[in-house]
């Protein structure tokens, strides 16, 4: 039976660091799935930011739906400098690692701009929880060949943070 869901690369941090980069992503898959379990070293909440192909200018937009446990909300943001997740946990309290998944659709094509779907479950012991879903547009027709993952506010991703990039084969 053909394998349709393949690991491309995985990184688990043994020491804290500012970012994780998956580079030289092969163009041989149909879609990419990025799965993360992450925590920031900031003393508060943070977000994950992903730069596509090293681009840190305002080519990213998103529409989000999120629930805090007491209220639901939705909004839109444009001209962002990263693919920004919902909250991730900082170092206060008995913080844990949330669950975050991005689907990069038709990432290798060079004719259309890129759509990305996100699901985040930020589960932490002391406040700041949320469950969220988002859709992003990356305003580039270039194939996605690298993803650089870091925090938006904190200095570093914490030890134990892990990200795995999978390739999905449609054929």
């Amino acid at each position: 039976m053909a394998v349709t869901y393949e690991k491309i690369q995985t990184t688990t941090l043994s020491t804290s660091q500012a970012s994780i980069t998956f580079s030289s992503i092969p163009s041989t898959y149909t879609d990419l799935v990025l799965v993360g379990s992450a925590k920031s070293l900031i003393s508060g909440t943070d977000s994950i930011g992903i730069a596509v192909n090293g681009i840190g200018s305002g080519i990213y937009s998103r529409t989000y739906l999120e629930g805090s446990g007491s209220a639901a909300s939705s909004g839109r943001q444009t001209l962002q400098i990263r693919i920004v997740s919902d909250y991730i946990t900082g170092t206060y309290g008995t913080a844990d690692f949330g669950v975050y998944t991005w689907n990069f659709m038709d990432y290798a094509n060079t004719t259309t701009k890129k759509t990305v779907l996100f699901r985040g479950s930020n589960t932490q012991v002391s406040g700041g929880w949320n469950s969220s879903a988002m859709v992003y547009l990356v305003d580039t027709t270039a194939a996605i060949t690298s993803l650089t993952i870091g925090t938006m506010n904190g200095p570093n991703l914490d030890t134990g943070t892990s990200f795995t990039l999978y390739g999905i084969k449609g054929a």
């Binding site: 394998v3 379990s37 844990d96 669950v99 998944t101 479950s121 949320n130």
Partner: protein
Amino acid sequence: MPTYKLISSVTVGSGGAANITFSSIPATFTDLLIKVSARTNRADDSDDLYLTFNGISSGYSTRNLEGGGTTVSSDSFAGIGTKIGRMSQNAANNTANTFGNSEVYIPNYTSSKIKSISIDNVREHNGTYGSLNFIAGLWNYSGQPAITSITFTPNGSFVQYSSAYLYGISNA
């Protein structure tokens, strides 16, 4: 090595079942994924499906984001720290032969850290009620044991053809 492997599956027989349990889950994968298709015999417009690990009924918390077709809401299911919930499933008052669906993702299930769980859930029956849920779950239990068994329990009982598939995902 395939990264996405079926570990076990359960399909409920004609007698129904009070719960679905996967036990003796091997520790050889990185993450777990469970896909559930369920309906119960509860005499209501829906039933709630709950999740527990290792037969333990404490240490759980949940945050839910729900769309009901006309409104969106969020809640924390206060008072149900004995399990993760609520995955809304089709029940006896729904259109015949319609089932709810849940996808449960558990990263790093063998780690000695607090366990985080992400759940997507849908319930539709071409009738009055339907719902979509995005659920964030957490299991913070003393000693942070590896997850070795998983149990799904509704208020009613699972009816025939309800099913659950447990997959192991490896990033090794």
